[in-house]
């Protein structure tokens, strides 16, 4: 992780601790001190990890407005009966409320996808930021095609064929970019420190409009407008 942090923030400009699959600390972004909260190692997000994430966000809010960077690497929600019994959806909703509180209190919020961002884990944690950037080689998806095949009882070959043809179905950072859910895809040769500073200057939920401009989601924006203005 140190190599990644050096590249994102500069050497000697970060102090981030890891515990299990959770990372949390401070780093300099441009000339501002930011809170960094994230997961790594394709973490499965269970109630305990969800509580750590929300606690870190609330701590940052108590310190007053400053930038918050989420680093997401998640295989999705933990799949256990125990977590369902606890009401994992309620723990995820609590993270979402914490992110919303941070935004209302004036924190600027950016998410960086480092590895994979899957389904419920990504929904709760990361997808509500104002700006979402993906590092090269990252993967974004809703569900593994093999699992989807078992759940839907549709042949894996049929789903693979569909994935080749349909950007609204197929996993992939580029598809999410076209649909407006990822704002920036970074490349190996970029200066990540510079890109991170400039990412922290956006707000509002413009994803449907961006998805329309990029040709990836042609209906989301007009239909929402139609209902909103009818």
């Amino acid at each position: 992780m140190k190599e990644l942090f050096d590249r994102l923030f500069g050497m000697g400009r970060h102090d981030i601790a890891t515990e299990g699959r959770f990372l949390h600390g401070k780093a300099m972004i441009g000339e501002e001190k930011a809170t960094v909260i994230g997961t790594f190692g394709h973490a499965a997000i269970d109630a305990v990890l969800a509580l750590r994430i929300s606690k870190a966000i609330l701590e940052a809010v108590s310190e007053g407005p400053h930038p918050i960077l989420f680093i997401a690497d998640t295989q999705g929600q933990a799949l256990t009966r125990h977590n369902e019994l606890l009401g994992l959806n309620g723990y995820f909703a609590h993270i979402a409320r914490s992110v919303d509180l941070a935004r209302r209190c004036g924190h600027r919020l950016t998410t960086l996808i480092n590895g994979e961002a899957v389904s419920g884990g990504f929904l709760a944690f990361g997808m509500l930021a104002d700006r979402i950037c993906a590092l090269p080689g990252s993967e974004v998806r809703v569900m593994d095609l093999r699992a989807m095949s078992r759940v839907t009882k549709i042949e894996l070959a049929t789903l693979e064929q569909l994935a080749r043809e349909s950007p609204v179905f197929a996993p992939g950072v580029e598809n999410f970019w076209r649909m407006g859910a990822i704002h920036e895809i970074w490349s190996e040769t970029d200066n990540w420190q510079d890109r991170l500073s400039s990412a922290f200057s956006c707000n509002g939920d413009e994803r449907a409009a961006i998805g329309f401009e990029r040709g990836g989601r042609m209906l989301a924006s007009p239909i929402a407008q139609c209902v909103a203005d009818a």
Binding site: L85, L88, N89, A93, R104, A124, S166, V168, C226, A230
Partner: protein, 292 residues
């Protein structure tokens, strides 16, 4: 009339004041899913959700109802955009409440990416209306329950009204069984599924704020009562203090039930008498909950 058995539109008509429902982007506009069409899958002229405005006891509300019988109430691009648009509309129309009749397995897998993004847009739009002082109520009592992203959306609402047949959770039992095996979660064991996700468990935990009988008038009465109580105690923005309290409560629950895998453990801790819970009616359940 059973809420569980009713269609989305029957639920709306039974919940709101007679003759007041006005639908936006109605089926006559034939806004179907182009992604389902490409797969030759069945289409619906409303893409599985009805949205509009109405009155409840004379008060102006906005209302959305998912049709659980169309693709499991799943959220695709059009379906999601209709709900998001309704929430955006609430910012200018300022209704007394927004009612979301959730009946959904979550993201529609045929257009999974669009569905996932739509749900995150709904989450953000919902948080925005609440910050503007407009309360949102989730009603959960249909066959498809409230799962996946819609389980998260449900818990973002200020009030959650459930019947005992309603189910509220994140991953569906079928998904857990498929990925982790039948010994982790047997999705065919209906009684177990109900003890882990059903209305009586969620009410005992406080995840649902009301438990009502499976009838449309019972849901209407609860929604009306909650709306009136929100008039008396207008919604304040959630503060850091409120969220720290939520953090503490959720944390305590995860410790208290750190190895629980069956709802009986929660009933044992939360009800004055936890015997025969699946058999008792709502009135008896609510009495036992209050008595503890």
């Amino acid at each position: 009339m059973s809420y569980f058995e009713a269609s989305a539109r029957t639920r709306i008509l039974g919940l709101v004041d007679a003759g007041t429902f006005q639908e936006f982007c109605p089926p006559e506009m034939r806004q179907t899913s182009p992604h389902l069409a490409r797969l030759d899958a069945p289409l619906s002229f409303d893409d599985g959700v009805a949205v509009g405005r109405a009155r409840l006891s004379g008060h102006r509300i906005l209302i959305a109802a998912q049709e659980g019988r169309f693709n499991g109430g799943s959220v695709g691009e059009v379906h999601g955009a209709k709900i998001r648009g309704l929430l955006d509309r609430a910012m200018t129309e300022r209704p007394s409440a927004v009612l979301l009749l959730i009946d959904s397995g979550g993201v529609r897998l045929h257009e999974a990416n669009a569905g996932l993004i739509a749900i995150s847009e709904i989450m953000r739009a919902l948080l925005r209306i609440q910050a503007a002082g407009i309360p949102a109520f989730a009603l959960v009592g249909g066959a498809s329950g409230a799962f996946g992203g819609m389980g998260i959306v449900t818990r973002l609402c200020n009030e959650v009204i459930m019947s005992e047949q309603g189910r509220l959770s994140l991953s569906g039992p079928e998904v857990i069984e498929t990925v982790k095996g039948v010994e982790e979660f047997d999705s065919k064991d209906r009684a177990l599924v109900w003890r882990v996700t059903g209305g009586k468990l969620r009410r005992a935990q406080g995840e649902a704020t009301r438990l009502v009988e499976d009838s449309i008038p019972a849901f209407r009465a609860a929604a009306k009562e909650l709306m009136e109580s929100h008039f008396l105690h207008p919604l304040a923005e959630k503060s850091l203090h409120d969220l720290l309290e939520d953090q503490e409560r959720l944390s305590e629950r995860s410790i208290e039930f750190s190895d629980a895998r069956d709802g009986q453990a929660v009933w044992d801790a939360r009800l004055s008498d936890s015997s025969r819970v699946p058999e008792i009616d709502c009135e008896e359940f609510n009495r036992r909950l209050l008595a503890k």
